[in-house]
């Protein structure tokens, strides 16, 4: 008779297992759920307004600069209260989508520029075309940057800061080998080999399983004369084989397949790599993590062409009751002096041509010069999916599980239908 006991417990546990499984699987994809946010404040009528602000600036000088500016705005406009929320970059898309489902969207969001078109397509961003034209300062911004905030001929925000990629190098390590920063692929390959030694690698890039790897590899692809629109070309193959060769040489650690750009920066700051590809946002971090490290920045080595990848942050205003108040705040933030403060804090380059950074140094100069050859990732609203297909090609080639040619052919098949239709 005693056998009945564990049996019945077993059946109950099984039922519990079923329900738990259902709930968890569903939670993974059910949007909404939360209640709608109260939106009963007077909108745009001059009364007190609370603006919700989302950004992904990690705690540090950039975040501090922003807090200071937002406090200043509140002091000047006491009827506008700004509720600032930090959202980790990796969660931003998911959070926006979920809060849109729950009608609890923020009013203004700092987003990564290549994501802007995807959000514009989603229909949560306010169309600011007319207001921006009335504002009359759009000509101060580079066309490419404004294009990143535009979708279907309408403008959905303003670019804040720009960044691009360049070559960071450890001055002591290069001097020890009697080397200058490489300017061509050949030099990069031989220098990286020479700089690889006990406890450190010659070169580092990020080949992690997300968009960052594509951002890092794109300059190489463009330098070779290739593009994501034609991945089966000889040039694309050469670009990927070049990266693979750097790794099979032993000049780049195999761990690069699991390093995001921040981790690459840490490797460099710790003296575990002599050179790396990275962006200007890394400079303040390296300075604070490794104050004794003697390092410099040089343009990326070139092949057929010179190229770097353009990135940056944009403001996106949400289509909602506080559109006008958010617009006022955004344009106030874009004042050249304030923008300079924010750009310097976040270690990035201001978009506006009339902004001069008060403490610009050689590093800033190299990154600013690189802007001339930096290209945007203008591959339409399916870019996230395109990038994932390209990452698989990069990773399978670097890990040796596939040849560059085969990997790119597979990627090209996936990418083809995702590219914007040509007119």
């Amino acid at each position: 008779m005693s056998t009945a006991r564990p049996r019945r417990i077993g059946a109950r546990l099984a039922a519990a297992a079923l329900t738990a499984g259902l709930a968890a699987a569903l939670a993974a994809c059910a949007p909404g759920g939360g209640g709608a946010a109260p939106k009963d404040e007077p909108s745009d009528s001059g009364g007190p307004v609370t603006l919700t602000w989302w950004d992904y600036y990690q705690p540090g000088p950039g975040s501090d600069a922003l807090t200071k500016l937002l406090d200043e705005y509140h002091a000047q406009h006491p009827n506008v209260t700004i509720k600032r929320q930090f959202i980790a970059y990796a969660d931003l898309k998911k959070n926006l989508l979920q809060s849109a489902g729950a009608s609890a969207l923020p009013d203004i969001v700092v987003i990564n520029s290549p994501d802007h078109q995807q959000f514009a397509e989603l229909g949560i961003a306010a169309d600011l075309t007319d207001q921006l034209k009335k504002w009359g300062q759009l000509d101060k911004y580079p066309k490419g940057a404004v294009a990143s905030a535009s979708y279907d001929g309408k403008i959905y925000g303003l670019p804040i800061t720009l960044n691009d990629l360049a070559l960071f190098y450890n001055k002591d390590m290069l001097a020890a080998q009697g080397l200058k920063p490489p300017t061509t692929w050949d030099e990069l390959q031989s220098d990286a080999k020479a700089l690889t030694g006990d406890g450190h690698y010659g070169f580092a890039y990020s080949a992690i399983n997300n968009q960052q790897a594509v951002f890092q590899w794109l300059p190489t692809l463009w330098q070779a004369g290739g593009d994501l629109t034609d991945l089966t070309s000889k040039d694309a193959q050469r670009a990927l084989e070049f990266w693979a060769a750097l790794m099979s040489d032993g000049s780049v650690s195999k761990e690069a397949l699991n390093w995001d750009q921040t981790q690459v920066g840490v490797e460099f700051a710790q003296g575990r790599t002599a050179m790396m590809i990275n962006g200007p946002w890394m400079a303040p971090t390296i300075t604070s993590q490794a104050p004794d490290l003697d390092w410099g920045v040089a343009p990326l080595p070139s092949d057929k062409e010179k190229a770097s990848a353009l990135g940056g942050e944009n403001y996106m205003i949400i289509d909602g009751p506080h559109e006008k108040a958010a617009f006022d705040l955004m344009t106030w933030m874009q004042d050249p002096k304030r923008l300079a403060e924010l750009a310097e804090g976040t270690g990035s380059l201001p978009t506006r041509s009339d902004v001069t950074l008060p403490h610009a140094d050689d590093t800033t100069k190299v990154f600013t010069d690189q802007l001339k050859v930096a290209r945007p990732r203008a591959y339409g609203s399916n870019y996230a999916q395109i990038a994932d297909a390209v990452v698989v090609a990069i990773q399978s080639t670097l890990s040796g599980s596939s040849s560059a040619k085969d990997a790119l052919a597979t990627a090209a098949q996936a990418v083809g239908p995702l590219l914007p239709k040509k007119n």
Partner: protein, 315 residues
């Protein structure tokens, strides 16, 4: 349970006025007590289930999720997902991950449970320490394992070096070892859970059975095979089923360790569900994928319940 049932004396039914009303209240009124659970089920289980299914039969994407106007596409999303070039390889990866994890988790869990069942000094404390692994947030344990598997400064390679094997193998970035590495980490995470269930089951076997059989001259092995094993069968099946459901939809540990890489080597189905919905905003296809992810453990559970019922009626 048996003792309580037999101890209850039959109560003579009281015959009074209003007994019919009372009986009716008892039969309908008691449903009030079910209401909270029912509400919970409808809100948090049934509604998402229906909503996900609803999303999955429309071509919901970024352009029409808020604006409306998604077209009804029937089961096209399911066909697209099931015939996508990565589905079969993802399914294979998921099954290897799930079954590989489960078998070892359970076997090691058994070993620990038998060990602790002997009830030595400090066994309670040791058991509690083991449970810490299970309680740790997945992000923490996954980050820990990322470091263990690192090629140049990881613990695993350092330990191998003590045994004279010098390697800079980066376990998580080599497509040949990444899946095995993730499975091993997940085994470590899951052992305490299986240990706990098996241990609880072992504690539930009356000591009298063992006493009686040893008086009859049964050996230690005989007692294990003839008493422990048959009595533990329901617990084992339950633990395996729970473990299967839990592991099949595992997301966080893999997402933190490899995010499905390198080159798709650890790309389990749950990661594609996340990517489709939240990276690509293809909510229709993402919901179809979520339902596929739901159906596989569900079918297994139904088979299990049906088998149990047959077994129970056969007795």
């Amino acid at each position: 349970m048996t003792s309580i049932a037999s101890a209850r004396r039959p109560v003579p039914a009281p015959r009074r006025a209003g007994a019919g009303l009372r009986r009716r209240w008892l039969s309908t009124g008691r449903y009030v007590f079910v209401l909270p659970a029912l509400l919970y089920l409808v809100l948090f289980m049934f509604y998402p289930l229906v909503y996900t299914f609803d999303l999955s039969i429309f071509n919901v994407n970024a352009a029409n999720f808020f604006r409306g106007g998604a077209e009804f596409v029937g089961f096209d999303n399911y066909v697209t997902y099931l015939t996508s070039p990565t589905f079969l390889s993802s399914l294979a990866v998921t099954l290897v991950f799930t079954i590989g994890s489960l078998l070892f988790q359970h076997a090691i869990g058994w070993a620990f449970a038998l060990f602790f069942n002997r009830g030595f000094a400090l066994s309670g404390l040791l058991r509690a320490i083991l449970m810490v692994v299970w309680v740790l947030p997945a992000v923490v344990s996954a980050s820990l394992w990322r470091w263990i598997y690192s090629g140049s400064f990881g613990l695993l390679n350092a330990v191998l070096a003590w045994f004279g094997i010098h390697t800079t193998q980066a376990w998580l970035v080599d497509p040949h070892t990444a899946l095995a590495a993730v499975v091993l980490a997940n085994i470590w995470v899951g052992v305490p859970f299986h240990m706990l269930l098996v241990y609880a089951g072992l504690q539930g076997i009356p000591a009298t059975l063992y006493e009686a059989s040893s008086i009859d001259g049964a050996s230690r092995l005989q007692r294990f095979w003839s008493i422990t094993v048959p009595l533990m069968r329901p617990v084992v099946i339950t633990a395996l089923l729970l473990g299967f459901v839990h592991t099949f939809k595992a997301f966080d540990i893999i997402y933190v360790m490899t995010a499905g890489g390198p080159a798709g080597a650890t790309n389990v189905l749950s990661i594609s569900v996340y990517q489709l919905s939240f990276d690509y905003f293809k909510l229709g296809e993402g919901s179809a994928a979520a339902n596929v992810l739901l159906v596989i453990p569900l079918l297994l559970s139904i088979v299990y319940l049906a088998l149990r019922r047959r077994e129970e009626t056969a007795l």
